[in-house]
Amino acid sequence: MNSNTSDLSKVITLIINGTSRQFSLNTTVAALIDEMGFAGKRIAIERNGDIVPRSTFATQMLAEGDRLEIVVAVGGG
């Protein structure tokens, strides 16, 4: 996922939908969405139990150990 994981001080580990992934330090929510290929998709994100409003995607900075849930609408009854 990340091009440079050799310097651990520049890397953060996030738990995304229950799976751990590494990203570079100073990754915003918007950057993460971009990097994961979700740009332009209808998704919603929860960070450590709190909703991340779409309006803050560009400004919220992710931190080591953050737990993210990224969800979509699917068929259901």
Binding site: I16, N17, G18, T19, R21, M36, G37, F38, K41, R42, I43, A44, I45, E46, G49, I51, V52, P53, R54, E69, I70, V71, V72, A73, V74, G75, G76, G77
Partner: protein
């Protein structure tokens, strides 16, 4: 006939609410929804596949929220906390849309509602401004409590989710309708069109179903049948059925002027 279903102040022409799960593909989903005439469709909220195909079809494209009123559900949630988190995500996903279907399940075998967790979740959601349509047991006391909390529709099961067993306890549904003034919508258990008609004849405000349509051999044709079943049941309810006469017949034809081989 001006007979609208009114939920949380918004009126709907169709009294059939349809789930979007279990169809072969989104094309069939959409065809069934169109055949059913439904205006309100339930959807589930799930973790997105990481690294999913960017061109993967999206439910929101096949079933546009501009054409259908979305009712995000909490299917699969077994605690109030998970249900509340799921619906907060749904509200963010759907641009502030606050009409939701709350269901908190008790166990995976019966999918029977856990009413204690359901009540806890309903209180939180109503306080946060959600308009809560709530799946619950057919217990009239719980139904009334959920109304008092502020739920905008009470949705008792008619039989277990996905069972197709039909309306097993019309008496309890009637008890609920007798004491609740928000719409009572049968949610779960309907198997075929006559079940939907029975629910509507009882006076239910609507019927919500998924498997009865998606699980039919021909889902699109069954969707059409369900539309008619709901409409027929509703009209019969409004028309007011004839009283039942026990143990005695009443002829439909005149009782006089009958030719007779008797002398007179």
């Amino acid at each position: 006939m001006n007979d609208k279903l009114i939920i949380a102040g918004k009126s709907y022409s169709s009294r059939l609410l349809v789930g979007t799960g279990k169809y072969k593909d989104f094309t069939e989903t959409r065809a069934a929804l169109d055949a059913s005439g439904t205006e309100i469709v339930t959807v589930a909220i799930r973790r997105t596949n990481l690294g999913q195909n960017a061109n993967e079809p999206n439910l929101l494209d096949a079933v546009p929220p501009s054409k259908f009123t979305y009712l995000p559900n909490t299917a699969g949630c077994y605690t109030a906390e998970d249900a509340v988190r799921t619906l907060r995500l749904a509200r963010e996903l759907l641009d502030g849309h606050s009409l939701v279907k709350l269901e908190v399940l008790g166990d995976p075998q019966s999918l029977y509602p856990n009413v204690i967790e359901t009540i806890a979740a309903a209180k939180t959601l109503v306080a946060e401004g959600f308009q809560v349509m709530v799946y619950t047991s057919d217990d009239p006391i719980i139904a009334k409590q959920l109304e008092d909390i502020g739920c905008v529709a009470i949705m008792p099961l008619a039989s277990l989710i996905g069972s197709g067993m039909g309306i097993l306890n019309p008496w309890n549904l009637q008890l609920i309708m007798n004491r609740v003034s928000v719409p009572v919508i049968v949610d779960a258990g309907v198997g075929t069109a006559s079940d939907a008609a029975i629910a509507m004849e009882l006076g239910c405000a609507g019927v919500l179903m998924n498997t009865a349509i998606a699980g039919a051999q021909n889902p699109v044709l069954m969707a059409s049948a369900m539309k008619k079943g709901v409409e027929a049941g509703r009209e019969a309810y409004l028309a007011g059925r004839m009283p039942k006469k026990l143990y005695s017949a009443s002829p439909s034809s005149p009782t006089t002027g009958i030719i007779s081989s008797a002398r007179n």
